[in-house]
């Protein structure tokens, strides 16, 4: 009888003070392609100078789900996390990346990249899964749209107890955005349209 109450107490204590991380974003070498489930292709640098447009509005984007009345309200500061992780990750995909707050015609870049947050949501169960969708539009120096792509970033973490819930929530958001940033870099380095743009750019440089 005493043992039963001890076990029940231990189960309740575990639910409240449970450990933080169950699954973190996989390391690049263990990462798999989400469509084919094959090992993901490595990110290859494109010989292009790119401008990354991160407007103040984009960085301040918060995605809210639920209404706090009939459903749990969650607010995801996706823009803030994206502005932290996008530039360092995209540096692996281009020769140079210049971050601008607005498009500047005088900026001497071969490609201008503009991200948009399309959706962000997380499940509410004991193990939370989060999805972040980023839509990319790439334009060339003449302003022509050469590439459009929507990438999906995912992550999962344990919900956590009363004391670890907020911390786990931040980790979940950060990992989902990091995953979206890495997927973005990979899609960019694989895009035939951007490879062709790099080829045209190289040919133009030679002819100068």
């Amino acid at each position: 009888m005493r043992l039963f109450w001890c076990l029940l107490f231990a189960a309740l204590a575990f639910a409240v003070f449970s450990p933080d991380i169950i699954k973190a974003t996989p390391s690049p070498e263990k990462r798999k392609d989400k469509r084919s489930n094959e090992p993901a292709a490595p990110i290859v640098k494109l010989p292009l100078n790119a401008a990354l447009i991160l407007t103040p509005d984009f960085c301040a984007t918060k995605w809210t789900t639920g209404n706090g009345w009939t459903s749990a309200k969650d607010s995801y500061a996706v823009g803030q996390a994206a502005c932290e992780y996008l530039e360092p990750t995209l540096k692996d995909a281009f020769s140079t990346v210049t971050t601008l707050q607005a498009p500047r015609p005088e900026a001497e870049v071969a490609v201008v990249l503009q991200p948009k947050i399309v959706n962000a949501d997380a499940t509410k169960g004991g193990k939370r899964e989060m999805v972040v969708l980023l839509e990319w539009t790439a334009t060339d120096a003449a302003g022509k749209t050469v590439w459009v792509q929507t990438v999906q970033g995912t992550a999962s973490h344990k919900r956590g107890g009363a004391f670890s819930y907020k911390k786990n929530f931040k980790l979940l958001l950060a990992d989902a955005v990091k995953d979206a940033a890495e997927e973005s870099a990979r899609e960019i380095s694989l895009a035939p349209e951007l490879k062709a743009l790099a080829g045209d750019h190289a040919a133009a440089e030679v002819s100068k």
Partner: protein, 200 residues
């Protein structure tokens, strides 16, 4: 005074309380079978790009793939597949440029049906609010599945294809009012917009 019988009953109840959520979590969302444009209810081909669409009106099919019935709440999931059959030159699909209407009038992203209701494309994140299912069991899993199955803006490179669902808000009636949808895509070679139109 706790009797042995009472304790057994309490243990069984506790076991069931822990077991029930696990059974519910185990429910999965099957993928909608991928189709080629030629296998769809409606299809068209222009400049080497084939597009096929299937309006999934059947509530049973909706229950199978989305774990919720969308039609009774005035939402029609529409399966869209695009296939670039060219050897060079991509097509750019931008979801924000889709326009649609009813009865052969595609005039904007939001139009009114003949009964005066607003028709529009609904993002997967807003569907549960519309169908009033925010309190249903595993609403967040249903919503995430809707998001994952939704078609997004993409570039379709030569020899490749993409597919997904559009969620169209349309007047709830029997029979359903006809929907006319225009899907514009940009040809990367000519930089011209090619529009595919379907009525269903």
């Amino acid at each position: 005074m706790i009797t042995a019988k009472g304790l057994r009953c309490f243990r069984k109840t506790l076991f069931l309380i822990f077991l029930l959520p696990m059974v519910c979590i185990a429910r999965e969302f099957p993928d909608y079978p991928a189709r080629k444009p030629g296998e769809c209810a409606l299809s068209d081909e222009k400049e080497g790009l084939k597009i096929g669409i299937i309006p999934v009106d059947d509530a049973k099919e909706q229950e199978t793939y989305f774990r919720t019935k969308l039609s009774p709440k005035g939402l029609v999931p529409v399966y869209v597949v695009m296939q670039n059959g060219r050897t060079n030159g991509s097509f750019l699909f931008q979801k924000a440029k889709i326009t649609f209407g009813s009865g052969g009038d595609a005039s904007g992203p939001h139009v009114r049906s003949t009964s005066g209701e607003v028709m529009s494309i609904v993002g997967a994140g807003g569907i549960l609010g519309i169908i009033g299912a925010v309190k249903m069991t595993h609403a967040s899993e249903v919503e995430e599945n809707l998001i994952k199955k939704e078609i997004q803006s993409k570039t379709v490179p030569p020899g490749s294809e993409m597919h997904g669902f559009l969620y169209v808000r349309a007047p709830n009636g029997s029979p359903r009012e006809k929907i006319h949808i225009s899907l514009p895509v940009t040809d990367s070679i000519t930089n011209q917009t090619i529009t595919f139109e379907f009525t269903f």
